[in-house]
């Protein structure tokens, strides 16, 4: 009970202390958008032939005729009431767009992170168990390759190999075949929705659409995860309590998994949190290559169109997710390491 209370208090404290950071990010993005060249009113006017009057009207309608501080205050008020503005490109409220697109990005990122962890942990452990061996070098080579290759190159290579040459993967256009029927909207996570409704056919279709972009992303973040696992495993394997575990005759797999890995996972957890946040923002290239309808490509399109509201909404969303992920990592850390929970 006391432990739960302590955790609750810590969560509250952390959320509270992240408010200034988020506010700073919001204001900075707001100002940055105003400084960037390009006039949204001109961009969104009916056409190149739009008259001065029309542009002026549009500007007034968008509130751009007001001085920047007034715009900022109005913007902050809007955010406080949950109104992120309206996208000029899609014509919908930003919140609605986000709700539709965020699950796509999250599903991709989660799958990629899961894939990356599933590969990186065993690889890192193997490399740490035999440092300097052939396995170690192969893992190092794989990691280097993953980091060196830009995601759009590796994505295109994967498409070339598995779609064009082998024909195993479906055409890389979006989350689901255009002719297939979408599942009923439950969570927005297609895999989950298909699984819940028991539509195995649809599940397989969504899965095969997902696997290539997820692999592309996973390849990109394999390196930090595998290298971190290796380094922290090596450090832990050299510590005294591993020697103790061996001295009482524990089975080797128990020494490695229960004694070494659990301790070594702590720093990996931190890195995984950072990697997740980076992936969410950085997967714009993957989304573009695979025509994935995610938030990152949405924000990029908006940025190119000088569409303020979606970009600001996107940055706010990212900042919030970043805070939440870090909080989650902290909580997990506290659960995994009794020494930290005690503080």
């Amino acid at each position: 009970m006391r432990k739960l209370q302590a955790i609750g208090r810590r969560i509250g404290g952390r959320l509270l202390s992240s408010v200034p950071a988020i506010l700073g990010v919001v204001i900075l993005t707001f100002l940055l958008m105003r400084v960037l060249p390009g006039d949204p009113a001109v961009f969104f006017a009916s056409g190149p032939s739009a008259g001065q009057q029309e542009i002026e009207d549009l500007r007034k309608q968008m509130g751009l005729d007001q001085p920047v501080p007034v715009q900022l205050v109005r913007y902050l008020q809007d955010i406080a009431t949950g109104n992120l503005g309206r996208s000029m490109t899609t014509g919908q409220p930003v919140l609605t767009d986000m709700q539709q697109r965020l699950p796509a990005s999250l599903e991709l990122t989660f799958s990629a992170l899961f894939l990356a962890l599933a590969c990186a942990l065993p690889l890192g452990i193997l490399a740490a168990l035999r440092p300097g061996s052939a396995v170690d070098h192969v893992v190092r080579f794989l990691c280097t390759l993953g980091v060196c290759m830009p995601t759009f190159v590796s994505g295109l290579l994967l498409i070339y190999a598995f779609y064009y040459l082998l024909g195993w993967a479906p055409d890389p256009t979006g989350r689901i075949d255009i002719f297939a029927s979408a599942p009923p909207e439950i969570t927005g996570f297609l895999l989950f929705d298909f699984a819940v409704t028991g539509d195995l056919e649809g599940f397989r279709a969504a899965f095969s659409q997902l696997i290539l972009p997820a692999c592309t992303m996973a390849l990109f973040v394999l390196a930090p995860l595998a290298r971190m696992t290796r380094a922290s495993m090596l450090a832990v394997l050299g510590s005294d309590f591993i020697r103790t575990a061996r001295s009482i005759g524990l089975a080797p797999w128990r020494v490695i998994l229960v004694y070494a890995l659990r301790n070594a996972l702590l720093p990996v957890l931190t890195i995984a949190g950072i990697v997740f946040s980076t992936m969410l923002g950085a997967n714009v290239l993957v989304e573009k290559v695979f025509s994935w309808p995610g938030v990152a490509s949405y924000a990029l399109d908006a940025l190119l169109a000088s569409d303020y509201a979606p970009v600001q909404g996107f940055v706010l969303l990212m900042a919030t997710i970043f805070v939440l992920v870090n909080l989650l990592v902290d909580i997990l850390y506290g659960l995994a390491d009794p020494r930290i929970a005690a503080e």
């Binding site: 510590s239 309590f241 103790t244 009482i248 080797p252 229960v258 020494r339």
Partner: protein, 547 residues
């Protein structure tokens, strides 16, 4: 004649290092009978721990047995693979390590770890393992064992952790326990409790024990036989009374002499000492000489409300040496840091040379004129020297900062003088801490502190991490420096013998309060407080002349 339980014959272990193969053991031989307690003593680098790890099959990957053999109960286990050794570890022989807190898994409850030791060799349900773990914790006399099952190592004291370690080692009733420095780093009273427990358990269960220690007193008190190791060989082996009474080998003789005993003096520790043959009689201070240091009602409370130092007062005359003795948590290190003005006191006053220095915040004390007057030598010179500073830079640093010396012949001369005065060979000045031996590092630490000619030198366990022979030399160096430079020493130590030899007066501390104060010889001979008597009684000792 029975088969020895453990027989090590002509064992040679080589480590592959960057600079080629280095032999850690060069033909060590000894045997241990069932139920016997054999002590393996020697200084660091003599190969004691390597012997133990080789027997357990736990050598690093870099280490290899290159010659000789190890037999356990008649069975050759010299190069046995993991398949043979794993079932034996914990069940036939087990090991207790130095630094118990690091030897336990930090994120696993101690109950689970003891249960792991049980389930490694026995087919037990989780529930049965837990019950047996509880019984084991009770056998190693852990109070409230039921609650402690769920505790994590960081929540237990060092002594408690070592008891848990012992519980793990005896869990599957092995016939041999190898205890590698089991009490190093523990307080004397804790050490006595842990060793008594260990000796009792092994005797009750008829287990044999290989006790590895650098402490001759400990070996003398708990072992049936003692083997002395030097540079990877066993040089002498005998029952303790005979060994310490009439050491045969030259190395044993040196080792025995270097061990502080109730009767030893600084001069007797090392035959080729640095001391002038005749102790220079210090002229008595003229009456009315002002005090060098006056500490009044010093209080330090750490966050959490625990008073580490609770109203401690004492005085020191110029050139006097005062010992602060106590166990861990007694507040002795806190006092040394308060007097050195590294931390701020919660209350009380420190008056140095007629001026109150406790008003100056610790943050600003580096700029105070008294900074160069009060210097400190830290415990574990290896950790307290900047790893990126050469010995020269370490010694020159205070001269640059406090004396404002620029690089040049003056600075070089001062540093060299300093190095000479602490007996540090000049060619070593270019080396970095990791390239120096423990004793050399200690000399650099002392040179660094005396380079700015302080009046008061605070010594915080300067020899705690050193071998006895090195400790002997460092103590002699300190004594010589004090006589030559007229330094006053505030000597912090847990070792009453050392304090008795080096200090005129001593203060015994417990839980931040003064228990007893007075002439060190007098306190040692006739302690007034029960606590002091307990401390003195807990020191393991041997009587070299008793045999």
């Amino acid at each position: 004649m029975t088969t020895p339980l453990l027989q090590v014959q002509d064992l040679e272990v080589t480590f592959a290092t960057r600079r080629g193969a280095v032999a850690a053991l060069r033909g060590a031989s000894f045997a241990l009978d069932p139920g016997e307690v054999l002590g393996l003593v020697g200084e660091s680098g003599s190969g004691k721990s390597v012997t133990a790890l080789a027997a357990m099959g736990l050598l690093d990957k870099a280490g290899r047995v290159t010659r000789g053999s190890i037999h356990f109960d008649g069975r050759d286990i010299t190069r046995a693979g993991a398949g043979v050794l794993r079932p034996m570890r914990g069940a036939a022989f087990s090991m207790i390590f130095q630094n118990p807190r690091a030897a336990l898994n930090p994120i696993r409850s101690v109950g689970a770890q003891v249960a792991d030791a049980l389930r490694a060799h026995r087919d037990l349900s989780a529930r049965a393992a837990r019950d047996q773990a509880l019984a084991l914790l009770e056998q190693v006399r852990i109070r409230n064992a039921g609650q402690r099952l769920e505790a994590f190592p960081h929540e237990l004291s060092g002594g408690m952790c070592q008891r848990v370690m012992i519980a793990m080692a005896i869990a599957c009733a092995p016939r041999l326990i190898i205890a590698d420095e089991p009490t190093t780093g523990l307080d004397v009273t804790t050490q006595k409790a842990v060793m008594d427990l260990l000796a009792g358990l092994t005797r009750e269960r008829g287990m044999a024990m290989l006790l590895i220690t650098h402490d001759l007193g400990l070996a003398a008190q708990y072992c049936d036989r003692v083997a002395v190791m030097e540079q990877g060989r066993v040089v002498e082996e005998a029952p303790p009374a005979a060994l310490f009474g009439a050491p045969g080998h030259a190395y044993t003789r040196r080792l025995v002499a270097a061990c502080p005993t109730p009767s030893s003096t600084i001069a007797s520790l090392s035959p080729d000492g640095e001391l002038p043959a005749e102790p220079v009689a210090r002229a008595p201070l003229p009456a009315g000489t002002p005090l060098l240091l006056e500490v009044r009602d010093l209080v330090k409370t750490y966050p959490g409300g625990v008073a580490a130092v609770d109203k401690v007062s004492f005085t020191m005359k110029p050139g006097e040496s005062l010992g602060l003795v106590g166990e861990s948590g007694s507040g002795k290190s806190t006092i040394s840091r308060l007097v050195t003005r590294l931390i701020d006191a919660t209350g009380g006053e420190v008056i140095f040379d007629g001026h109150s220095v406790s008003d100056i915040p610790a943050r600003d004390f580096h700029a105070a004129p008294q900074r160069s007057q009060i210097q400190i030598v830290f415990q574990d010179a290896g950790e307290s020297l900047n790893p990126r500073f050469s010995a020269f830079d370490s010694i020159a640093d205070p001269l640059r900062r406090l004396r404002g010396l620029r690089d040049g012949s003056e600075l070089t001369k001062r540093v060299k003088d300093c190095a000479v005065s602490v007996g540090l060979p000049l060619p070593l000045l270019d080396r970095f801490p990791h390239q120096l031996s423990g004793g050399q590092r200690a000399r650099v630490g002392i040179a660094r502190a005396v380079s700015v000619d302080p009046k008061l030198l605070v010594l915080d366990e300067p020899t705690a991490a050193l071998d006895v022979s090195v400790q002997a030399v460092v103590l002699q160096l300190l004594e010589r420096l004090r006589r030559e430079k007229g330094l006053a020493y505030l000597f912090v130590s847990h070792d009453l013998n050392v304090v008795r030899m080096l200090c005129d007066r001593m203060i015994v501390l417990r839980n931040g309060q003064v228990v007893e104060e007075g002439d060190s010889q007098r306190i040692f001979r006739a302690p007034q407080a029960d606590y002091t008597a307990e401390l003195i009684a807990a020191i393991p000792h041997f009587e070299p002349l008793a045999a």
